[in-house]
Symmetry: C2
Subunit: 489 residues, 2 copies
């Protein structure tokens, strides 16, 4: 990581010994340890005699006052390393009045001047509420957020990207590139690759821009165009048929993890199934199906048998259908196979089809951070230290000019409230940070859309290879960030 000499103005701050707490919240993202290292180094260098506490196991660590005092030796082995295992993480939220009370008690007990919450949209919403709460109670504890998520869906004009996105995409792109070369070398498989990212399709889009697959499904486009599962299947099958005419019986297809959440008809079917299954038994004869509306019945019959059974049999503790457990890539392979069979019978398809399914997920959350993420995280942490030192609260640490060399980055803070909208949740209006979805009018999607037809039929595969830490390309920035910052790729 580069030295964070960027926060020069803090030199003039009066010397204070600070007591700071830090917490990792939610799913892992490469670089989290460097945020903590950045905070620690700021305190060491510019507020010596300060103390840094790491809350263990996520927000629960704040509520239960479970922490470790971080020192040089403790932090050292985690610098520039992936994972969150230095203090671990958790998915608890500080929501109820009792939980806010517990948090208050902890910050009072530890006499905290500041608390840094490293997390995604929900955690930063939480950070904002905590800041407000402490301020209203006249507690001195300032609260800052830090933008973390491999999904890339926490961003705004001032927060150009969340950390971890760069590394995760590069790890997935390496694997996709390898599979592409395999597809072309073997000449007989269609690889259906499902990529992590349930809510937004940023990862899928970035990986497509890096590798040029034949087909890429972007959830936000499926939702905007109100596509059905049949539409998506037909699109894939059309490309496969056209490629077969050129004797290409292979290819690579990227699918976002959350695809079926984007398809309105699937949501309707699930809702109806949850209702039916809650009140009726499913009879072997299939009489229960009469309770589905026409469109849902048609969709249900269109689904492969294994998926039908999964929908009927596997339920969560609340009795609901478990959509998250559906392996979308395998479902699509089956549906594509069936449709290709029909076209073959009609004489419209003469190729051979073999599908191979992949899910790239956990491999990307804890990899060694890229140089970009290592530097970005260190700057976020160092900046958070400076913001706390200068008395700020309710901000998210942010770094600008990220496409330039590190020396030209600028570090600052943005009001968490500026990222927030009011949403109705459980019947109440609540201020929340909205997830940033893929913008169909944004530069990354438009770039992709302008090229995808060529990628579909020609083989423009690009295999980026493994992440490098030295040499050419080792400081490359994600295509999404470049395009969103107004650069061409």
């Amino acid at each position: 990581m580069a030295p964070a000499s960027i926060v020069n103005s803090s030199k003039s701050l009066p010397h204070r010994k600070l007591k700071i707490g830090v917490v990792l919240s939610g799913g892992q993202a490469p670089g989290g340890h460097n945020v903590i290292s950045g905070i620690y180094d700021y305190l060491q260098q510019r507020a010596s005699g300060s103390t840094l506490y790491g809350f263990k196991g996520g927000p629960a660590g704040i509520m239960k006052c479970k922490y470790v005092e971080l020192n040089s030796d403790y932090i050292y082995p985690y610098r520039n390393q992936g994972g969150f295992d230095m203090i671990c993480s958790g998915r608890d939220k500080i929501e109820t009045p009792e939980q806010f009370k517990q948090a208050e008690e902890t910050v009072k007990k530890l006499d905290l001047d500041g608390l840094v919450v490293i997390g995604g949209d929900d955690s930063n919403t939480n950070a904002c509420l905590l800041a407000e709460n402490f301020r209203s109670k006249n507690l001195k504890t300032q609260v800052l957020g830090c933008p973390k998520t491999i999904d890339g869906d926490l961003k705004s004009k001032e927060v150009p990207t969340s950390f971890g996105f760069d590394t995760a995409c590069k790890i997935y792109a390496e694997m996709i590139g390898n599979v592409m070369i395999d597809a072309r070398s073997t000449g007989k498989y269609y690889h259906f690759v499902r990529l992590m990212g349930r809510a937004a399709s940023h990862i899928t889009l970035e990986c497509a821009l890096q590798t040029h697959p034949n087909i890429t499904i972007i959830g936000e486009e499926v939702a905007a165009k109100k596509l059905t599962l049949k539409n998506v299947t037909d699109y894939i099958v059309d490309v496969i048929c056209k490629r077969a005419e050129d004797n290409y019986n292979y290819g690579v297809i990227l699918i976002p993890e959350g695809l079926i959440d984007f398809i309105p008809e699937v949501q309707h079917l699930i809702a109806e199934l949850n209702e039916i299954l809650a009140h009726d038994t499913v009879d072997e004869g299939g009489l229960w199906k009469k309770k589905l509306n026409d469109q849902s019945l048609e969709l249900f019959e269109f689904l492969p048998q294994a998926i039908q059974e999964q929908l009927l049999l596997e339920r969560d503790p609340h009795g609901n259908v478990q959509v998250a457990k559906i392996e979308t890539e395998k479902m699509l392979i089956e549906m594509v196979e069936t449709e290709l069979g029909k076209r073959k019978q009609e004489g419209k398809y003469k190729g051979e089809f073999k599908g191979q399914s992949h899910f790239f997920g956990y491999e990307g959350r804890c990899g060694l951070p890229t140089n970009f993420d290592a530097n970005y995280c260190y700057a976020l942490g160092y900046g958070a230290g400076a913001l706390l030192h200068s008395g700020k609260t309710g901000l998210i640490s942010s770094v600008a000019n990220l496409c330039a060399p590190v020396e030209e980055w600028t570090v600052g803070g943005t009001a968490l409230t500026s990222l927030m909208d009011v949403e109705r949740r459980h019947g109440k209006f609540k201020p929340v940070i909205k997830k940033a979805m893929v913008e169909l009018e944004g530069a990354p999607f438009k770039k992709f859309a302008s090229l995808r037809d060529e990628w579909a039929l020609k083989n423009c595969y690009t295999s980026p290879g493994p992440i490098q830490f030295t040499g050419p390309g080792s400081d490359a920035v994600s295509h999404t960030l470049l395009l969103e910052s107004g650069f061409q790729i």
Copy 2:
């Protein structure tokens, strides 16, 4: 790749213009393009005016005389790249008298002085038979083999490793390392990782030596100890229970792709099922089960329902059970879950278990070759050129002293027959190159066996990170090769 100045003796060979053919056979392995580049460069530098033909799509390209003449421009973009897409590969074999005849016609038509077969055990067996055949027919075409397979099961005293093994293992080890850090950071998942390699468990063993998982199953040990599926399950469950006592409800478990092929009782069950399913129908009431012998019935009842159904329903075109389609990692998760449930009821287990399944396979076959594989392949190819130039046939290109710096490697050839045994296949005695299995008395397994108990209970995870092409570690050799060469790790 380093310059291949190592074959100095060939300088004294008389100048000849050679016509050489090269073919890639079987599954992809990183580095294949460099073998071809090595042959090409040898011919350019030491037998100028020579011609190199690449047969397309594997051995079928020889039989059908489908080829491309390779030149500098054609080869250039593939140097140091993964995949076999320069001329592609195929799984056909030259076996019948008619097929040998076709091969003869091709080498005569192209007036070939030599043919280099880049492949695994079967392909090198084939190369040996072709060499014999051409010699017996007084054809001038010399035939050489080259040791290729990511599985690492083509090796002997003179051929210390097959190319591709190094890269594939490092790619898988990167992913395993990432998953390990994820497991430790999250603290709630057991990751069951199935690794490519159907016949031998070298990949699994090498990845274990690189990453130190909690549990590693080695197929050859399972076979030698005649373990049952229940034994394997119990071993895993025992470790999980012991870890739960230390509050570790997470871990990483490596499983070789071919695990169930190593379990004798599974082979018996499959054989009986194939017999029964060929002659009888499977009745809903389960009367057909009476035809299974006691041990097979017990095993069948022990299998998760999904696997039972898969065994009964999914059959290949010959009506046989499709063992290869069984997702062993998912099967083990279910069996472990069931057994843990029992132990929980008995009060012997108080932890929580969540399994996550992974299959790392296609990602590793076409990655960018490591420096080791890039150099090794180039040396194999350059050496093959020199062997052909000096009139050799029936040899496999081999490089020795591979643990030393490249400058100290020595290149030569080994008689293919020295790698062969006589095996009975389809009722006839046939000379074949036997697959090199994991030796339970060999240094790699013994090293692993001496450490696995510590790895099981403590968390000694090592995350090697992405393959690097420059800087420290970029020239590292696989642990298997080091240990087999008498070095310590």
